[in-house]
C-alpha cells in the first residue's frame, strides 16, 4: 500500500513542477513566439526558399510532441504494437508530420496579421485561438498544447475547423480497416524515402 502512495506523491510533485515551468510563459505567448520566429524566417529577404525549409523544420521539430501525437493518431491500434513497431511508427510519423507542416507554413504563412483571441485551459491542457487576417481573406487556426518540463508543447493544430490530428486518426483507421497496419507502415516508409 505504501508504493502507490509514494508514486502518487512523486507524480504530483513532478506535475506541479511541470505546471510551474509552463506557468512561466502563457500559452498565447508561447504560440506568438513560435509564429514570430516562423514569420521572421519567412520574411527574411536574405534567405531563399530552400534555405528557409530547414529552419522552419527545426522550429516544428522543437515545438510538437511527436510521441504523443503518434500514439493518439493510431488510437487503440497503438496498444497492440510491440516496442520496435511503436518506435518505427513514431519515427515515420514525426518525419512525415514535420515535412507536411513545414510545407503548410512555407505555403501559407508570410508577413501575416495574426489576431490572438481566446486562450482556454482545460485540465492542464491549453488552447489558443488565432486568426490570420488578410484583405478579403481570413483563416482561423487553433493551437492545442500541454505542459512539459521545458514549457508548453503543441500536440495538435486545428485549421479552419479541421484538426490535423483527427485527420490522421480517421485516415490511419481507414487504411488499417481496409488494408492492414503493415500496409500503413509500408506506405509511410515509402513516403519518407521519397521525401528524403
Amino acid at each position: 500500500m505504501k508504493r502507490p502512495l509514494w508514486i502518487i506523491s512523486l507524480s504530483w510533485a513532478v506535475l506541479t513542477l511541470l505546471a510551474g515551468a509552463a506557468a512561466a510563459e502563457t500559452p498565447t505567448a508561447y504560440v506568438r513566439g513560435i509564429l514570430d520566429q516562423a514569420m521572421k524566417i519567412q520574411t527574411d529577404p536574405s534567405l531563399t526558399d530552400s534555405s528557409r525549409r530547414p529552419l522552419i523544420h527545426k522550429i516544428i521539430e522543437k515545438n510538437f510532441d511527436f510521441p504523443l501525437m503518434a500514439k493518439d493518431s493510431l488510437g487503440t491500434a497503438y496498444g497492440r504494437l510491440g516496442a520496435g513497431d511503436r518506435q518505427k511508427f513514431t519515427g515515420y510519423f514525426s518525419y512525415l508530420f514535420q515535412s507536411s507542416y513545414t510545407r503548410l507554413v512555407l505555403d501559407f504563412l508570410k508577413r501575416e496579421n495574426v489576431q490572438y483571441h481566446r486562450e482556454t485551459r482545460d485540465n492542464r491542457k491549453a488552447r489558443v485561438e488565432t486568426t490570420i487576417v488578410r484583405p478579403n481573406e481570413s483563416i482561423p487556426v487553433t493551437y492545442l498544447m500541454h505542459p512539459t518540463l521545458q514549457g508548453w508543447i503543441l500536440y495538435d493544430v486545428i485549421v479552419d475547423g479541421v484538426s490535423i490530428l483527427n485527420n490522421y486518426k480517421t485516415e490511419f483507421a481507414r487504411v488499417i480497416r481496409t488494408n492492414s497496419f503493415a500496409f500503413l507502415m509500408e506506405r509511410m516508409r515509402t513516403q519518407v524515402e521519397s521525401l528524403k
Binding site: 507536411s100 485527420n167 500503413l184
Partner: protein
C-alpha cells in the same frame, strides 16, 4: 504512179474543186451543224449523278440503290447554326426557320430538326450516358453531408460554411495524409460554388434574372425542356437542321438550295449575331456542280476568246481568224450531234470535253494557216497553187497529229470507270470530227472568202523556208545535254509530286457548303457524310453497333437504338442506389432565417484564403481547375465589399432575396429530380413503337430492316483516312455503302483508270509513231518534246508545290497530245523537205507550234483567275505544261535533229501511208523482198 504524186494530185483536185464547190460545201456544213444543234437540243441529257460514273462496280451501285430506296432520299440539305454562348438564339432561329419552311411543303416535304422531348420525359434519366449517371450518383452521394446539413439549416451562410468545411478538409487531407490515397486527391469541384457566387454577385448588384446555379449540379436538360430535343453536335457548338428538298436532278436541288439560302438569310436577319450556313451532301454536290459548270463555261469562252485573239495577232488576218473560228464552231456542233447520237448524254466528267477538244483541234488549222502564209511569201495573197501546196505539205503532219491525239484519248474509252470511258469516246470522236472539219472547211472558207485565183506564174512547192529566229544551232550537243538533265530532273520530281485525292481541295474554299462542312469537321469532328449498313434484326443491329463502336476509325454510330435508352437495367440499379438519399432529404421552399451579411462575408473570406493558396500551388497542367479557382477568388473579392451593410444599405434585403430564390430553386430541382428518378424506375421500358414517326422512317425500312449510320472519326476527305474507314466498315459488313464508300470507290476507280489509260496511251502513241515513220529512231525523236516537256512540267510542279488532282489530271491528255503533235509536225517537215532540213527548223513551222502552244496557254492559263481550286490548278498545269512542251519542241528537238543531220543519212524520205490497206500491202511487199533476198 509514185505515192507522193498521187497525194499531190488528190490535193490539187480537191483545192481546184473548191473553186466552184466551196460555197455548197460551207452551206452543207452549216446545214449539218444546224441539224446537229437541233438534234442535240432535243435529245442530249446531262447526268449529274455521281453513281452513274462508276458503272464498273455494279454490285455497289445495286446496294446503294437498295439502301436509298429503303431509307434514303432524306436530309440532303443541312442548315448549320453556330451556337453562341447559350443555345437560346440557335433554338429561336430553328423554330423560326421551321415555321417559314413549312409554308413550302411542295419544295421542302420533310423537315427534321427537333424531337418532342415530352415523348422521352418518363425515361429521361435513363437517356443519360452510363458514365454521366454514375458521375451524378457520385456527386449526390459525395455531397450527402452537405445536402443534409443544408436541409437541416437552410440558410445561404450554412451552404458556404459547409462548402468551406469541405475545402478545409480536402486541403488538410491532401497536405498531411495525401500519400495514403490510391490516386492523387483532386481539388474539390468548385463549379457549384462558382455558380452560386455568380448569382449572389448578380443579386447583390441588383441584376436580374436569377439563373439556377444548380445546372452545375443537376443536368440542365432535365429542368428545362423548352430548349431540348434539338440536334446539337456533341460539343454543343452547332445546331443542325435537316431539310429534305423536293426530289429531282441537279437543276431541282440547285433551285431548292438557292431558295433555302434565301429563306435562311431572311430568318437570320431576325436573330442578329447568329452565324448560319447550308451544307450537306446535296448542297456540296450542287455547289460543286454549279461552280464546275460556271468554270467550264468560263473555260470554254476564255479558251475561244484567247485563241481568237492570238490568231488575229499571229495571222494578222480577220478573215482567216473568222474562217478558223467557223471551222471550230461547225466542228463543235457536229461533235455535239454525234455525241447525242452515239452516247445520248453528258456526265459531270464528259462535260469538259469542249474546251479540251478545242484546245487541241485548233492546232490543226493553225499549222495549215502558218504554212499557207509561208507559201504565199511576201505577196500575202492566196492562190490555188499556194493553197494546194500548203494543203499537201501539211496534210501528213496534221493527220498524224490528229491520229496521235485520238490514240491518246482512245484508251480512256476502255476503262471500267464509266464517266471516263464516255469522256474518252467523246474526245476520240470529237478529235476525228474536228480533223475532218479542218481539212474540209478551212481551205473551203479561205477560197470562199479570199477568192484565191489561179496563179499565172508557176509556184515552187515547197517554197524556200526561212530559219526560225535565224538560229544556226552551232552547239546542239549542249542543248541536248540540257534536255537530258531536265528529263532526269523530271524523273526525280515525279516522286515528289503528290496525287491529291481530296475532293474538298478542288472546291472553292469560299463556297458556303464547303466552309460549313469544314467548320463542322474541324471544330466538332462532325461530318455530314456517313457509312450506311442495313441489318435484318434488332439483335444484329445491336451487335454490329457494338463492333463498330470499338473501331478507332469510327467516331459514333446512329441507329434506331440511339433513340432508346441503352443498358436501362444497369442504369435503374444506379438510380435505386440514389433512392435513400433522395427520399431522406427534403428542402424547404424558403430559408429558415435570413443570413447575416457579415457572417456570410466571414465565411467567404475563409474560402478565399484557402482558394488563393490552392491556386498558387496548383500544378501547371491543371489549367482548367486553376481558371475555376481564380474565378472563385475574383468573385469573392467582388462580393465581400458588397456584403458590408454600412456601405450598401440594401445588402440585407438583396441577400435575403437571393436566399429565397436559392432555396425555392433548390426545392424545385430536388423534387423534379426525385420525380424523374421515380418515373425512370416505375415507367415501362421505351420500345420502338414509342418513338416518333420521323425517327422510325429514317432508321427502319418498310420491309423491317434497320439502318446503321456510321460516322468517321477522322477527316475522310483525305484518302488515307477514307481508305481506313471504308476498310474497317467492310470488315464488319462487306455490303456497307454510303457516301464515304462511294467516294472511296470513285476516287480509286478514277485514279487507277487515269493511270492505266495514260500508260496505255503512251504505248499506243509510241507504237503508232513506229508504224507511221517505219523507224524506231524517228518515233523516239517524235516523242522528245513530250518526254522533255513532261520532265520540265514535273520539275515546275515540284517547284510550285502543285499536286496532281482529279481536275487537272483530266487535262494531261491535252499536254500529251500537244507534245506528240509538235514532234510530228516538226519531224514531218524535216523528213519531207530537204530545204527544211538545211535550216533544221523553218520559221512557219515554229510559228505554228508556238501559236498552237500559246493558244492553249492563254485559253487555259486564264482559268487561274478562278476561285475553284480545281480549275485554278488546271489553268496552272495547262500553262506550265504547254510552255514546257513548247520550249522542248523549239529547242531540244531541233538540237537533236541538228546532231542527227551530221550523221550519214540512212533513213528513207518521209513517205506517208494514210490508208491501212496500203500500209498492209507495203508490209507484205517488204516481206516478199526480204524473202527473195534470203532466197538469193
Amino acid at each position: 504512179m509514185p505515192q507522193e504524186d498521187k497525194l499531190k494530185q488528190c490535193c490539187t483536185r480537191f483545192i481546184r474543186g473548191l473553186k466552184i464547190g466551196s460555197w455548197p460545201l460551207i452551206a452543207g456544213a452549216i446545214l449539218l451543224a444546224a441539224l446537229a444543234v437541233y438534234y442535240t437540243y432535243a435529245n442530249l441529257t446531262v447526268s449529274t449523278n455521281r453513281n452513274d460514273l462508276i458503272a464498273s462496280n455494279k454490285g455497289l451501285l445495286k446496294l446503294s440503290n437498295k439502301m436509298e430506296k429503303a431509307f434514303g432520299g432524306r436530309d440532303g440539305l443541312v442548315v448549320v447554326v453556330e451556337n453562341g454562348k447559350d443555345k437560346h438564339h440557335a433554338v429561336q432561329f430553328a423554330d423560326a426557320l421551321a415555321e417559314e419552311l413549312r409554308r413550302h411543303p411542295d419544295r421542302f416535304p420533310d423537315l427534321f430538326y427537333r424531337l418532342d422531348p415530352e415523348v422521352f420525359k418518363p425515361s429521361a434519366l435513363l437517356y443519360l450516358e452510363h458514365q454521366d449517371l454514375v458521375k451524378l450518383k457520385d456527386n449526390l452521394l459525395g455531397q450527402q453531408n452537405l445536402l443534409q446539413g443544408l436541409a437541416a439549416d437552410p440558410r445561404i451562410t450554412t451552404f458556404y460554411q459547409l462548402v468551406n468545411g469541405q475545402i478545409a478538409q480536402a486541403m488538410i487531407g491532401h497536405l498531411f495524409t495525401g500519400f495514403l490515397e490510391e490516386k492523387t486527391a483532386e481539388v474539390p469541384d468548385v463549379s457549384l460554388l462558382n455558380a452560386t457566387l455568380k448569382q449572389l454577385h448578380h443579386s447583390l448588384t441588383g441584376q436580374e434574372p436569377f439563373v439556377s446555379p444548380f445546372n452545375a449540379f443537376f443536368p440542365k436538360e432535365l429542368s428545362d425542356l423548352s430548349e431540348e430535343g434539338y440536334f446539337f453536335t456533341e460539343d454543343d457548338k452547332f445546331l443542325l437542321f435537316l431539310v429534305t428538298p423536293k426530289r429531282g436532278g441537279y437543276a431541282t436541288v440547285s433551285r431548292e438550295l438557292e431558295f433555302l439560302r434565301q429563306v435562311v438569310h431572311r430568318v437570320k436577319a431576325g436573330v442578329p449575331g447568329l452565324k448560319v450556313g447550308v451544307t450537306g451532301p446535296d448542297a456540296l454536290e450542287a455547289d460543286e456542280m454549279h461552280s464546275s459548270l460556271k468554270d467550264i463555261t468560263l473555260a470554254t469562252w476564255l479558251s475561244l476568246a484567247g485563241q481568237m485573239g492570238l490568231l488575229i495577232l499571229f495571222l494578222r488576218s480577220l478573215r482567216r481568224t473568222f474562217a478558223e473560228t467557223m471551222v471550230l464552231l461547225i466542228g463543235l456542233c457536229w461533235t455535239f450531234g454525234m455525241i447525242t447520237l452515239l452516247v445520248g448524254h453528258l456526265n459531270i466528267l464528259s462535260m469538259i470535253f469542249a474546251p479540251l477538244m478545242l484546245g487541241l483541234s485548233i492546232d490543226y488549222g493553225i499549222h495549215w494557216f502558218c504554212r499557207l502564209e509561208e507559201e504565199e511569201g511576201n505577196r500575202r495573197r492566196c492562190s490555188l497553187e499556194t493553197l494546194s501546196c500548203a494543203y499537201r505539205q501539211t496534210l501528213p503532219g496534221i493527220v498524224y497529229a490528229g491520229l496521235a491525239a485520238m490514240v491518246s484519248f482512245l484508251p480512256l474509252a476502255f476503262v471500267g470507270f464509266k464517266g471516263l470511258a464516255e469522256l474518252g469516246l467523246i474526245l476520240t470522236l470529237g478529235i476525228f470530227i474536228m480533223l475532218v472539219a479542218t481539212l474540209l472547211l478551212a481551205p473551203g472558207l479561205v477560197v470562199a472568202s479570199e477568192k484565191c485565183p489561179s496563179d499565172p506564174q508557176p509556184h515552187s512547192c515547197p517554197a524556200e523556208p526561212h530559219p526560225f529566229l535565224h538560229l544556226s544551232w552551232k552547239r546542239p550537243g549542249v542543248v541536248v545535254a540540257v534536255g537530258a538533265f531536265v528529263t532526269l530532273l523530271g524523273a526525280v520530281s515525279l516522286w515528289q509530286v503528290q496525287f491529291d485525292l481530296n475532293p474538298l481541295h478542288l472546291q472553292n474554299q469560299e463556297t458556303e457548303s464547303v466552309v460549313w462542312e469544314n467548320n463542322l469537321l474541324k471544330q466538332s469532328k462532325y461530318s455530314t457524310s456517313y457509312g450506311a449498313l442495313a441489318t435484318a434484326s434488332l439483335s444484329e443491329l445491336r451487335s454490329r453497333s457494338e463492333a463498330l463502336k470499338q473501331l478507332p476509325t469510327v467516331s459514333h454510330v446512329e441507329s434506331i437504338l440511339s433513340f432508346l435508352p441503352s443498358q436501362p437495367e444497369k442504369k435503374r440499379l444506379i438510380l435505386q442506389e440514389l433512392g435513400p438519399v433522395l427520399t431522406s432529404i427534403r428542402f424547404p421552399e424558403t430559408p429558415s432565417a435570413p443570413s447575416d451579411p457579415r457572417e456570410t462575408a466571414e465565411v467567404l473570406k475563409r474560402i478565399n484564403f484557402k482558394m488563393a493558396e490552392v491556386a498558387k500551388n496548383l500544378e501547371k497542367e491543371k489549367a482548367a481547375t486553376q481558371e475555376q479557382i481564380e474565378e472563385t477568388h475574383r468573385l469573392i473579392n467582388q462580393i465581400i465589399p458588397l456584403l458590408d451593410p454600412r456601405a450598401h444599405p440594401q445588402t440585407q434585403a438583396r441577400l435575403a432575396g437571393f436566399e429565397r430564390q436559392f432555396f425555392s430553386d433548390l426545392n424545385d430541382k430536388w423534387n423534379l429530380f426525385l420525380g424523374y428518378q421515380e418515373s425512370a424506375l416505375d415507367s415501362p421500358p421505351m420500345t420502338l413503337s414509342d418513338l416518333p414517326q420521323a425517327v422510325r422512317e429514317r432508321f427502319v425500312s418498310p420491309a423491317g430492316t434497320f439502318l446503321l449510320r456510321v460516322f468517321p472519326s477522322q477527316d475522310i476527305w483525305n484518302f488515307e483516312p477514307l481508305k481506313r474507314f471504308v476498310d474497317s466498315l467492310w470488315s464488319i459488313d462487306a455490303e456497307a455503302v454510303g457516301d464515304p464508300v462511294l467516294l472511296y470507290v470513285f476516287t480509286l476507280g478514277f485514279r487507277n483508270s487515269i493511270l492505266w489509260a495514260a500508260g496505255l496511251a503512251l504505248l499506243a502513241i509510241a507504237a503508232m509513231l513506229v508504224i507511221l515513220f517505219r523507224s524506231l529512231k524517228m518515233a523516239m525523236l517524235a516523242l522528245i518534246p513530250l518526254v522533255v516537256g513532261t520532265g520540265l512540267t514535273l520539275s515546275m510542279m515540284w517547284l510550285l508545290g502543285l499536286p496532281f488532282n482529279q481536275a487537272n489530271v483530266l487535262f494531261l491528255p491535252l499536254i500529251l497530245g500537244e507534245g506528240v503533235e509538235f514532234g510530228i509536225i516538226i519531224l514531218a517537215r524535216w523528213q519531207l523537205e530537204a530545204s527544211a532540213r538545211a535550216i533544221t527548223l523553218p520559221a512557219s513551222t515554229a510559228k505554228g507550234v508556238a501559236l498552237a502552244a500559246l493558244t492553249t496557254t492563254l485559253g487555259f492559263g486564264s482559268l487561274m483567275v478562278s476561285g475553284h481550286r480545281g480549275t485554278f490548278s488546271l489553268g496552272l498545269l495547262a500553262t506550265v505544261g504547254s510552255l514546257s512542251v513548247l520550249l522542248a519542241s523549239l529547242s531540244i528537238l531541233p538540237a537533236f535533229l541538228r546532231l542527227m543531220d551530221r550523221e550519214p543519212r540512212r533513213l528513207p524520205f518521209f513517205n506517208p501511208i494514210l490508208l491501212p490497206g496500203r500500209w498492209l500491202r507495203n508490209m507484205r511487199r517488204k516481206k516478199t523482198d526480204e524473202k527473195t533476198a534470203l532466197d538469193h
